[in-house]
Each structure stands twice: as structure tokens, then as C-alpha cells.
């Protein structure tokens, strides 16, 4: 039985091939192997949401998926979404609304918020709060984050 597994995946549009230790979770692989340190590691047991990344279009906890499980998958991180301009509106709104202080949760928060933006529907503040309920922010009290997401979703300023 193999403890390291040959894995091929696409990260932010680029093909990646590595032999990955089975025990390494996806966000450690992205950070340590690929230098993509935008996805943060907070709790490492699925509670805080700082490691949120997209796998085959769905947001997941990067710490609750083994990197070898991403074999054949398309992985998108905050770096990819930021560089492509996909997050432009959210980034602008987060800036304008002061929706971050220390910034530790921000990459995960943006990934979770963008997941809601892609659903392309108007949302109540309650729905926004539900959608980001798995992303912890210890600075803002969430009010400004909800303001920023609401601005993008509902076009309110």
C-alpha cells in the first residue's frame, strides 16, 4: 500500500503533477508544495472556514480533503479567483465597507461569498449570514461583511 500517491490535478488553470503523501490535506499541499499561501489554515478541523477553496466548482474545506483526493480535479484558490478578476466586485465592496480588519479570514470569506454570488439571486441578510455561517471572523462582528456581500448581491450601496 502506498503512503505517497502520484496525483494529477489542475490548480488555478495550470496542470500540477506530484507524488503526494496520503496524510497531507489539500490546503497544506497548496501552501507548502505550490506556495499558494492565500488559503489560510486556522483550526484544521473544519470549523473556521479560513481554508475554503473550490474543487470542481464547489466550495470545500481545504483541511477536510486529502490532497490525493483531488486527483483529476480542478482546484481554484483565492489566488486564481483574484487574478482572473472574478472577485473584483466583492473585493471592492469589502474594501469600501471595511469588511476586514486583520484579514486572516478574508480569503475564505471571499470564496464563500463568491459561491453565493454565483447563485445569481437576491438574498436577505439572514440568508447571507447562513451562507457564511461556516466562516469565522474574530474582528468585524460580521456586520460589515454582510454589508459588503449584500452590496454585491443586491446592488445596494
Amino acid at each position: 500500500m502506498e503512503h505517497a500517491v502520484d496525483t494529477t490535478l489542475t490548480v488555478n488553470g495550470s496542470p500540477v503533477r506530484r507524488s503526494i503523501p496520503a496524510r497531507q490535506h489539500l490546503v497544506d499541499f497548496l501552501r507548502e508544495e505550490l506556495g499558494l499561501t492565500g488559503s489560510h489554515i486556522g483550526c484544521e478541523h473544519g470549523v473556521c472556514g479560513a481554508c475554503t477553496v473550490r474543487v470542481n466548482g464547489d466550495i470545500v474545506r481545504g483541511c477536510l480533503m486529502l490532497a490525493v483526493q483531488a486527483n483529476g480535479c480542478k482546484v481554484d484558490t483565492i489566488e486564481g479567483l483574484s487574478d482572473s478578476g472574478e472577485l473584483k466586485a466583492l473585493q471592492k465592496a469589502f474594501h469600501e465597507k471595511n469588511a476586514l480588519q486583520c484579514g486572516f479570514c478574508t480569503p475564505g470569506m471571499l470564496m464563500a461569498a463568491q459561491d453565493l454570488v454565483l447563485q445569481n439571486r437576491r438574498c436577505s441578510r439572514e440568508e447571507i449570514r447562513k451562507h457564511i455561517s461556516g466562516n469565522y471572523c474574530r474582528c468585524t462582528g460580521y456586520q460589515a461583511i454582510v454589508d459588503a456581500i449584500e452590496q454585491v448581491l443586491n446592488g445596494q450601496s
Binding site: 500500500m1 502506498e2 503512503h3 496524510r23 497544506d28 473544519g46 464547489d58 466550495i59 455561517s133
Partner: protein
């Protein structure tokens, strides 16, 4: 923390998976949303993870005359969004949004939740309320177990070593309601209730109220809400948690019973 070292294999057939599960220290990896945290915290240390996500035919939702059959690899997000589940097994569709958060629901599976048998989990109570049948694959073939007999205790089920929970079939109900109380959205429930009605017969099953789902036998037989609430005291003796005494949980159980009663 980081997970301990283990080997990994992703079989592409059921036969291969069952073969691998015979190896010492082998554990099934499905959605991983409970297993991987426990690995990261080093609460478990398997020698081999058998990733069953490559098994064909385990991700199907089928509407049969006897009910909805859902493969073990169907995720919470798929259950939440499925028009078939919403129409034919609305109890599950109502329960799914209560499970953790969107990013976790995208990976966590029905089979994983049932097989883990967390006392605060939503699906086990739904399965007992609907009298679901669980299909278990093993080297000697498939066997079937009713949900009521499957859940034996705290994280304890009828699954034997080397077996895989392949699917669950949920019979239809005339009406269903799922309610739970949690401190914050996505937290484990303080207490929850899966309620159904078939013809004039109601069935109430509680989660977070014992080591396994608790069928409220007396409350289910009651003819009026007042009678049901009084009878719940005989059905439930919920263990306290860090924040809620047994009496509080029983009180909250009655609150949920009232909400469910008025919906069914």
C-alpha cells in the same frame, strides 16, 4: 495538528473495496467530513484509508415504488438540491440544510452520516422516523437492516468490520417535518425532531436526546398536543450537555414537538 501517516487506496469496484477492507487497520473514507478532523486531531489512526468515492453506482438517487433509494455517496448538498428528494422524501430535504455549512455539505455524504451514527446527526433520526431500510454490502453479499435496528448506541451501528453501507431506502410519508434547535446555524443541534405522518399515524423521533435516535413512542400515540407533550416525559430522558440540563432539553423537546404537531 497533522494527520498520522497512513496508506491510501481508491478502489474502482465494490469487490476490490471489500478486499481492501480486510486488511488490518483499514477504514472507509467517504466524504471525510468527520473522519478527516478526527485524523487531524489524531483521535484515530488507521493504517489504510479505503477511499470509496470511485465506486460506481453509489451516487444515485432513485425513485422507486417502495420509496426513494439514495446511494451512500450522495452528498448533503445533492440531497438539499434534489427535486426528487424534495418531492418524495421531504423530511431529508428539510433536514439537509441543518447539517453544518455549505462547504461541508458539498463533501459530506448520506452514508457517512448514517454509518458514523453521531447522536446529534440529522439523518439517523430521519431514517428511524421513516422506517428506512439500509442496504449493507459485504463479502457474503448484500443484507438489509431496518433503521430502528441499525442504530445501536453512541457511534455504534449494526455494521460489521469489512462491510460498506451501500444505500438507504426511505419509504414515503404523507407529511413530514424536520425541526431542530442549535445555538448558531450549522452547530450541532441541542435537540432536534424528525416527525412524519402516514395516514393518521404520527411518528416522532428525536436527535440529540440519547445515545442513538429516540423514537417517542408515547407522544406518537397521543391524540392531542397536550397529551403528546405530557407523554414526552415518559419517552425522553435526554443526557445533559455542557450548556443544557436534561430538564432544559426535555423542555426544548416539547417546544419542537409543538412546532411539529402543528405542521403535520
Amino acid at each position: 495538528m497533522k494527520a498520522p501517516s497512513f496508506a491510501y487506496s481508491k478502489p474502482s469496484s465494490l469487490e476490490e473495496a471489500l478486499e481492501l477492507l480486510e486488511r488490518p487497520g483499514a477504514t472507509i473514507l467517504a466524504g471525510g467530513q468527520s473522519l478527516i478532523p478526527s485524523l487531524n486531531m489524531r483521535l484515530s489512526s488507521p493504517e489504510l484509508l479505503v477511499d470509496i468515492n470511485g465506486l460506481p453506482g453509489f451516487s444515485k438517487i432513485e425513485v422507486l415504488s417502495s420509496g426513494v433509494r439514495i446511494g451512500c455517496l450522495v452528498t448533503h448538498a445533492q440531497i438539499e438540491k434534489s427535486a426528487e428528494v424534495s418531492k418524495h422524501a421531504s423530511l431529508l430535504a428539510q433536514a439537509a440544510p441543518h447539517i453544518a455549512h455549505p462547504a461541508i455539505r458539498n463533501r459530506g455524504t448520506l452514508g457517512g452520516s448514517l454509518a458514523l451514527a453521531d447522536p446529534a446527526a440529522e439523518y439517523p433520526a430521519c431514517a428511524v422516523a421513516l422506517d428506512a431500510t439500509l442496504f449493507i454490502a459485504g463479502k457474503k453479499g448484500e443484507r438489509r437492516v431496518k433503521a430502528g435496528a441499525f442504530f445501536k448506541g453512541l457511534f455504534e451501528t449494526d455494521l460489521r468490520p469489512g462491510e460498506i453501507l451501500a444505500a438507504a431506502e426511505f419509504p414515503p410519508a404523507d407529511k413530514a417535518v424536520f425541526v431542530e434547535l442549535a445555538r448558531r446555524h450549522g452547530d450541532y443541534a441541542i435537540i432536534g425532531l424528525a416527525g412524519i405522518r402516514v395516514a393518521s399515524q404520527k411518528r416522532f423521533v428525536f436527535l440529540g436526546a440519547g445515545a442513538a435516535p429516540v423514537f417517542a413512542k408515547n407522544a406518537s400515540k397521543a391524540k392531542s398536543l397536550a397529551e403528546a407533550k405530557a407523554a414526552l416525559g415518559e419517552d425522553l430522558d435526554p443526557p445533559p450537555d455542557l450548556y443544557h440540563s436534561s430538564a432544559t432539553k426535555l423542555h426544548l423537546g416539547r417546544v419542537l414537538l409543538e412546532r411539529a404537531w402543528n405542521t403535520l
